[in-house]
């Protein structure tokens, strides 16, 4: 064997290195793809990339096996005439046939009733284009997966602090001294967070994890605080209680930058009860928060305009204005609200001892108060106060789906936002930091359409399919107050469902409630398996027929890279490319990869030709848009405007001459402008020369306090990121919610909810956070189902994608139900035994694994490891289907019928966030005579035309040699 010291990697074949952006998960690290004779030899992190700085995760390193997976689709497929839907009998067709079929069908729908076309995408970082397509088509029935992912986190924080975690903001662990992570999901912003947590710990920072389960990042927490699922709100409210009781809040911050000191009308008889008292002054109409509110001046003992220089307002107390209006500062209302939420109260709910809650509150409050950071950065606030330095309170938080995926998640997350605000940590060093284009006004300006008239034949939608309602008039409802969208988003059932409710689309369309649709187009969304609740029933709905033999959902189009479970149900299958074969723009119009120090966006540039006949989905959309003559995709004469997606990315402007396009970098004809500028024909080349990433570092004086940073806000306005350079006051008290509550109480001059929903809206649109049991627990016999069931995402697997990956599946080929040994002792089963997990909606059989790292009232498993037999290019007896299982079978997509409705989504009543983690179960031993396979089982999915042959017993991958065999 050759001495490795003399060995050179180029011996086997010609090596070249290309830079692009990873998409093994949504984190989007910069990567270098090393090719040997055109085959992927090595993928490593791009050391020059601002996001991952050269590191890469398990998934990113396994991109090779995604590229060469036999699970890949390579040809457009049509369900064979006469074949039943769901049995995977397909015939390969040409792209021309596929596109003609689609064009004909969609043109007809667009001419008759555009909302009969529904486009839902599992992928939410392509919304700028998919959303544009839907709007141009004229259908409101469009969303990405946010509704079943983490919309509570987005909405809860954006409606409170004007930004949120992950793409829009995060914990500043470079400077934090105390980091508190609650129920996080390991897949979000994974590499940067791993890097940051490690650096924090190495610097001696303290890391506390509050989570029912100690896996993932929680493993290296300095303290693990187990909590019962769904009770995070109770914990946070008790911490707020203690912080206020001890006076550990940042008073100065609350006064200047939040609505804490602003006076709220406190008279239940008045129609403006619970709204801020607003002084009469001319206010320009806009979606920002006008500054015509009052403080109660301490010394003068009278009301005064907010931010009056030299004024020092009261945060507490109860006052009467000159006109006799009783008012209270918002902070006083918060204080009154949390008086009941003592640590002792929370201890009984959360399972965390009161002493621990108190101690953690003190750790947060004292660290924030006593370990202040001061940076020598001059800045000017919106009220023209010049500051010599930027200060910060080094307590940082992070949370994602663990808090979000509960029906009480919105208020829990509001409580988190309020806690971060009380500690004075918003966009300050060591606390929470925004990422461009955030902060945005609370709520941001885009609004959904306001009524059914927004949907017209052959006309783009009047409004954006998704937006940010600020008042009842912003809802998308008809005259009866009922939903216009198929998923009932922005209806009174889920007024702030800013990401839609993808999890109810199939059920609603099947039932024809609010109306039947014709074509459901799913892009990269595994709605017949792990991306749906109630999987077994949803699979039946997809094949259910009317008495006349027509399918209830007449036409299903699936675009995916892999033979997922959902592909089996398609009438038309479109093979998408892999991420190494496509152009992509990770756009500022969407969910970019910005850093705390300024906007960042990035692109993918193909490093390999598409496999087989795979075609990038974006090209397909642009092709369809051109064929259907959607205005944005054609010239005035109806001729095609964009050659393909790369051409579109370069030349598209949000409106003619706006200078805003998909990519922020190297704009202007010579590429010298940022964020805003004329299209640059060489934009792709410039991205390619710069590692496929554009990073605009803001001046340091614009990097902090951006909600109120005059310089930043004017810069952001000038560069088209924000409409107003007005301060973004933090909503400790949410007037937005109160407006909906007033409507439910009949006090709002405009729209009011339907009768059945009045009570619901009045209860859950509370301007201050409160704690309630998850909705499903209120409606079922919780004693019969004593355990909470959760899923966790393993760091080596993202969503459902990677079971087709020969390397990653070896780490997780099947999953176990993890539970406390005490459950086994009680139920008479042992570690490793087969057990049944039963919820009110179904049961699954699986193997169990005892664990001491889980709260005893919780059982959990890795998410989406279980697969239907034969899907994803796996053998019919692969572990994924025989030993792996899916918890989704146990989770209902709808709540049991109750007074608010027969078919309400199993979701947060404010945002429509799917309440995955509310499910309650019981676990018992499987009989010894039962077969040793998981249940339920499904008919194996056969290999599809165009899919590669089975690989056999051994696979030896060596780049440059593999494909030649």
């Amino acid at each position: 064997m050759q001495d490795p010291v003399t060995y050179s990697d180029g011996q086997i074949g010609r090596v070249e290195v290309k830079e692009t952006t990873c998409y093994m998960c949504a984190c989007r690290c910069g990567i270098r793809v090393h090719l040997r004779d055109g085959e992927v030899r090595y993928i490593d992190g791009n050391p020059k990339h601002p996001l991952n700085k050269g590191v890469i995760c398990a998934k990113g390193s396994s991109g090779i096996m995604k590229q060469y997976s036999p699970g890949r689709l390579t040809r457009p497929l049509r369900r064979k005439p006469g074949a039943e839907r769901g049995v995977s009998e397909f015939e390969a067709i040409s792209w021309d046939e596929a596109l003609e079929m689609l064009q004909e069908r969609l043109a007809k729908l667009r001419a008759e009733d555009p909302k009969k076309f529904a486009l839902f995408t599992g992928r939410d970082q392509m919304q700028a284009l998919t959303g544009l397509f839907a709007k141009q088509f004229g259908t409101p029935n469009y969303a990405a997966h946010g509704g079943f992912c983490s919309v509570n986190m987005a909405a809860g924080l954006i409606y409170t602090v004007g930004g949120s975690f992950w793409e829009f903001g995060g914990p500043d662990l470079d400077r934090a001294k105390l980091f508190v992570m609650m129920g996080t999901a390991e897949d979000h912003h994974s590499n940067p967070l791993k890097m940051a947590i490690s650096a924090l710990k190495r610097r001696g920072g303290r890391f506390v994890s509050i989570n029912p389960i100690r896996t993932g990042y929680s493993a290296i927490a300095d303290e693990w605080v187990p909590i019962k699922p769904g009770t995070d709100g109770a914990f946070l409210l008790a911490v707020i209680h203690e912080i206020i009781k001890q006076g550990l809040f940042d008073r100065e911050f609350l006064v200047q930058y939040t609505n804490a000191a602003e006076l709220v009308v406190e008279d239940p008889e008045r129609p403006d009860h619970g709204l801020f008292y607003r002084a009469e002054m001319h206010v320009e109409e806009g979606c920002f928060d006008p500054q015509n509110k009052l403080w109660w001046e301490r010394e003068l003992k009278r009301p005064i305009s907010t931010h009056t220089p030299g004024a020092d307002p009261r945060l507490m107390g109860q006052y009467e204005l000159d006109d006799g209006t009783p008012v209270k500062p918002a902070f006083q209302l918060l204080k009154e609200r949390v008086e009941q939420y003592t640590p002792e109260w929370a201890a009984a709910i959360t399972g965390i001892p009161a002493e621990t809650i108190r101690r953690l509150a003190h750790e947060m409050g004292v660290t924030a108060r006593d370990q202040k950071i001061e940076l020598p950065v001059k800045w000017t606030d919106c009220w023209d106060n010049e500051h010599e330095s930027v200060t910060g309170n080094p307590v940082a938080f992070h949370a994602m789906r663990g808090l979000a995926a509960h029906s009480n998640g919105f208020h829990a997350i509001r409580a988190l936002g309020i806690l971060m605000t009380l500690l004075g940590t918003i966009d300050r060093p060591g606390g929470f930091r925004h990422k461009a284009p955030y902060p945005r006004p609370i709520p941001p300006c885009p609004k959904p359409p306001h009524g059914p008239e927004a949907v017209q034949p052959n006309t783009p939608l009047d409004g954006l399919p998704l937006g940010w309602p600020a008042k009842p008039e912003d809802l998308f409802v008809d005259d009866e107050g009922e939903a216009v969208r198929i998923d009932k988003a922005f209806s009174w059932e889920y007024p702030l469902s800013v990401h839609g409710l993808m999890h109810n689309v199939i059920t609603n369309a099947w039932r024809g409630d609010p109306y039947p649709i014709d074509t459901l187009f799913l892009f990269m969304a595994n709605m017949a398996w792990n991306s749906t609740m109630n999987t077994g029933e949803v699979r039946k709905m997809l094949v259910d027929k009317h008495p006349n033999g027509d399918y209830k959902i007449p036409f299903l189009v699936v675009c995916d890279t892999f033979a997922s479970e959902t592909v089996a149900f398609a009438d038309l299958v479109l093979p998408d490319t892999s991420y190494l074969e496509r152009h992509d723009a990770l756009s500022m119009l969407d969910r970019p990869i910005s850093e705390y120090d300024g906007p960042v966006d990035s692109v993918r540039i193909p490093v390999l030709p598409p496999k087989g006949e795979c075609r990038p989905f974006q090209d397909v959309l642009i092709e369809l848009g051109s064929r259907l003559k959607l205005p944005a995709f054609v010239k005035g004469d109806g001729s095609r405007k964009y050659r393909d997606y790369p051409d579109f990315i370069v030349n598209f402007e949000t409106s003619p001459g706006s200078g805003i396009g998909f990519l922020a970098g190297w704009r202007g004809t010579s590429g010298d402008k940022v964020l805003k500028g004329e299209p640059n024909p060489k934009q792709w080349e410039m991205y390619a020369q710069n590692g496929c990433v554009f990073h605009h570092e803001l001046p340091r004086s614009y990097q902090y306090m951006r909600n109120w940073n005059k310089g930043y806000l004017h810069w952001a306005r000038a560069h088209g990121m924000i409409r107003y350079a007005e301060p973004i006051t933090l909503h400790l008290y949410s007037e937005v919610l109160q407006k909906f509550r007033l409507a439910a109480q009949g006090k709002w001059p405009g729209r009011t909810p339907p009768e059945r929903l009045r009570q619901r809206v009045e209860t859950y649109f509370d301007p201050l956070p409160f704690y309630y049991d998850p909705l499903e627990s209120q409606l079922i016999d919780a004693r019969r189902y004593p355990l909470n069931a959760l899923t966790q995402r393993p760091m080596a697997m993202y969503h459902s994608w990677d079971s087709q990956n020969a390397w990653l599946r070896q780490i997780h080929s099947h999953n176990y139900l993890f539970l406390s040994p005490s459950v086994g002792v009680e139920q008479g089963f042992a570690d490793g035994d087969w057990v049944w997990v039963e919820s009110p909606h179904g049961r699954v059989r699986c193997m169990c694994r005892f664990s001491e790292a889980v709260e005893p009232g919780t059982v959990w498993t890795w998410n989406a490891i279980g697969k239907a037999a034969g899907a994803w290019g796996l053998g019919a007896k692969a572990d994924e289907s025989t030993k792996g299982f899916l918890l989704n079978h146990l989770i209902a997509e709808e709540l049991p019928p109750h007074e608010a409705g027969e078919h309400l989504s199993n979701a947060d009543p404010v945002t429509g966030q799917a309440a995955w983690f509310d499910v309650r179960v019981r676990v018992y031993r499987a009989e010894p005579k039962e077969p040793g396979v998981t249940s339920p089982q499904f008919q194996p999915m056969p290999r599809l035309p165009g899919q590669e042959k089975r690989r056999g017993r051994w696979q030896a991958y060596m780049a440059g040699v593999f494909g030649k065999r």
């Binding site: 590191v55 398990a58 390193s61 396994s62 490690s198 303290r206 760091m795 070896q810 991958y957 060596m958």
Partner: protein
Amino acid sequence: MTQLALVIDLNVCVGCHACVTSCKEWNTSGWAGPMVDGNPYDESPTGTFFNRVQTFEIGTYPNTETVHFPKSCLHCEDPPCVPVCPTGASYKRSDNGIVLVDYDKCIGCKYCSWACPYGARELDEAQKVMKKCTLCVDRVTDPKLSERDRKPACVLACPTNARLYGDVHDPDSEVSVAIRERGGYQLMPEWGTKPANHYLPRRPTRMHIDQDELTRVDNPLRKEDLTTYTGEETLDDVAW
């Protein structure tokens, strides 16, 4: 003599498996490759890996710790796997201390794997020769790579920088300093194999808040005049 090695910091390892697959992807197409995968798309998939991340639980609820534990060849200074090899396929390099297998000499007798207490060696079930971590010898000795890249793939990949790499015989190297200052230890020291790789233990950061720290003059509650004194008699009123 140089002894290259890894130092793995269990204090920051989150168990993400980045080192596992980055190792696989580098080495399967490298000097030590291919690394075959058995049943790659069927039941019980089982391939050759040079590095695994395992998970252990310490203690009982609620005082439980979860430890993620990456394990690869420790490149022992006194490697028991080397003298037992009947063909000389297993050897320890004298220039950098890396323990390697020459696949051309290996007869696949598996004896070296018996003689490794750590389970660091894996037989390639298709090629039928013994394989193991090479510390990416074909990277770390490749002068064509930049200095930054001349490290094992796992070290470059690791998002938490939990894998330090260097010469444990150089007292001033990053790895030696880490071992010295952060309690670096060896696995199964009872066997006297003198593993070159070391592990750094968990080091929790705790916080102590004194009761006094909760009471301060600048407590914002004072601004709201929320004192508890309401005028009742005190010693100040009655005593001299």
